[in-house]
């Protein structure tokens, strides 16, 4: 079965409602996304842990520090992620949307992802996987988890006849994780150092 755009979903927001539909013709096709997701998340974490943090890396002109660059890039990514939620609701017919809401969803997601990549590269290259406080521990863990979950989401999109709730659930998970990653880094940075610094 294909996703019925008019199928009712619980709530306005994709909250996990017992994932997976009743019919799953080939459970093996979830295996590849799951394996890739695990490999990405564990691989990133292992790289951050094993690799010696370099301490410094690139900076962009116009910003006072790499922390500011990353915070603003992360905030940009979160902004596009919010657009993701809205456009997804449009695609599923939960909100009135234009005919190009699917394209909007695809492209806002791509931009959000590509904006988040440099932040992750800097984190892993310069700082590594750290656990010295609760905030940092969660940020490190969920930051790696995010890219694994995102990979799974991308690969799931290639499968047809998915259970109707699966994509919204995974997408919602990706968004929720990104939000926590942002809360534990950029929001913390802005609150600690100020927005203008």
């Amino acid at each position: 079965m294909t996703v019925d755009p008019n199928a009712p979903t619980q709530g306005g927001f994709p909250v996990p409602p017992g994932a997976g539909g009743p019919r799953r013709p080939h459970p093996a096709r979830y295996l590849l996304p799951a394996l890739v997701a695990a490999a990405v998340a564990v691989g990133l974490g292992a790289y951050g842990q094993v690799h010696d943090p370099e301490g410094t890396a690139f900076n962009l002109a116009g910003f006072s520090s790499t922390g500011a660059v990353k915070s603003w890039l992360g905030t940009t990514a979160l902004g596009f992620a919010l657009l993701q939620v809205v456009s997804a609701l449009m695609v599923y017919g939960r909100l009135p949307g234009p005919s190009w809401s699917a394209a909007l969803h695809r492209w806002s997601g791509r931009i959000a992802f590509l904006v988040a990549v440099p932040v992750a590269v800097h984190c892993l290259y310069a700082l590594g996987y750290q656990t010295y406080s609760t905030r940092v521990l969660w940020h490190s863990f969920l930051g790696c988890f995010f890219f694994g979950a995102f990979s799974a989401k991308m690969l799931l999109l290639r499968s047809e006849r998915l259970p109707g709730r699966l994509l919204p659930v995974v997408g919602g998970l990706v968004f929720a994780v990104l939000t926590v990653v942002w809360l534990t880094s950029a929001l913390w940075f802005f609150r600690t150092f100020g927005v203008t610094r």
Binding site: V50, H51, D52, P53, E54, G55, T56, A57, F58, S65, T66, G67, A68, R106, G109, R110, F113, L114, V117, P118, A120, V121, H122, Y125, A126, L127, Y132, S133, S151, K153, M154, L155, L157, R158, E160, F189, T192, F193, R197
Partner: protein, 237 residues
């Protein structure tokens, strides 16, 4: 037909990540030449000293960075002075000096534990003399004693000059450095650990020098006042 757009998205992210890593890897070495101390675990500092099994507090260095390899000048008859660590104090006892020799190169750190510090480096001549230079015109002229037991010389920083003597020392004495960027701050610390266990250090926060928190020479760990941690590593040329 399978959709390939998501694959392109992932692939683009991967390419971007690899591109940024390569930019980092190629530009990172030039900007902070001193901080690229290679990991210590392979430090062959025991080649000349008393071959005692000095309790080696190897700092955990899982991911080794390739240090810029210095090709020792292959003079067939002469050898550069032997590798070693030297730590001492200025004659007026106001500051510490530590020098590490390796493969004909030397790196030195001068630190008064409050505000004045300098990193210097250069080559060691075959006769054991060295002229090291640092930022802002800092200079260190030194000479290795014939028995390799100490280095004596002068340091000149901002038109002030100090004479010093630095006897040969063993691990964990020596000079350590930690650089990190955390919480939007650039941290750069240097420490000199003396054979009697005393130490001085300066930690720069965004270029502002201040007395550094204590370094644990056994592990290289520095606990900052706000609960953060730094890992300092022995500095080698």
């Amino acid at each position: 037909m399978k959709r390939s757009g998501p694959l392109f998205t992932l692939f683009a992210g991967l390419v971007l990540a690899l591109f940024m890593l390569s930019v980092n890897a190629t530009t990172g070495t030039g900007s902070s030449s001193y901080s690229d101390s290679s990991s210590d675990s392979s430090d062959p500092s025991g080649t000349a000293g008393p071959a005692g099994p000095a309790a080696s507090p190897t700092t955990s260095a899982p991911g080794k960075r390739p240090s810029p390899t210095r090709t020792p000048s292959p003079a067939p008859t002469k050898k550069p002075p032997a590798d070693g660590r030297y730590t001492g104090r200025t004659d007026d006892d106001s500051a510490s000096v530590a020098i590490t020799l390796r493969a004909g190169g030397a790196v030195a750190y001068f630190c008064d534990g409050r505000a004045t510090e300098s990193w210097l480096k250069g080559d060691v001549e075959d006769d054991g003399s060295m002229r090291l230079t640092g930022r802002h015109g800092a200079k260190l002229d030194g000479r290795l004693a014939p028995d390799n037991g100490s280095i004596r010389g002068t340091v000149e920083i901002r038109e002030k000059s100090w004479a010093f003597t630095a006897p040969k020392a063993e691990k964990p004495s020596g000079v350590y450095r930690a650089t990190a960027e955390a919480r939007g701050e650039r941290l750069d610390g240097g420490w000199i650990v003396q054979p009697d266990g005393s130490q001085v250090g300066i930690l720069n926060r965004d270029g502002e020098p201040a007395e550094a928190p204590r370094l644990d020479p056994a592990t290289g760990t520095v606990v900052l006042g706000d609960g953060g941690r730094l890992t300092a590593r022995p500095v080698v040329p």
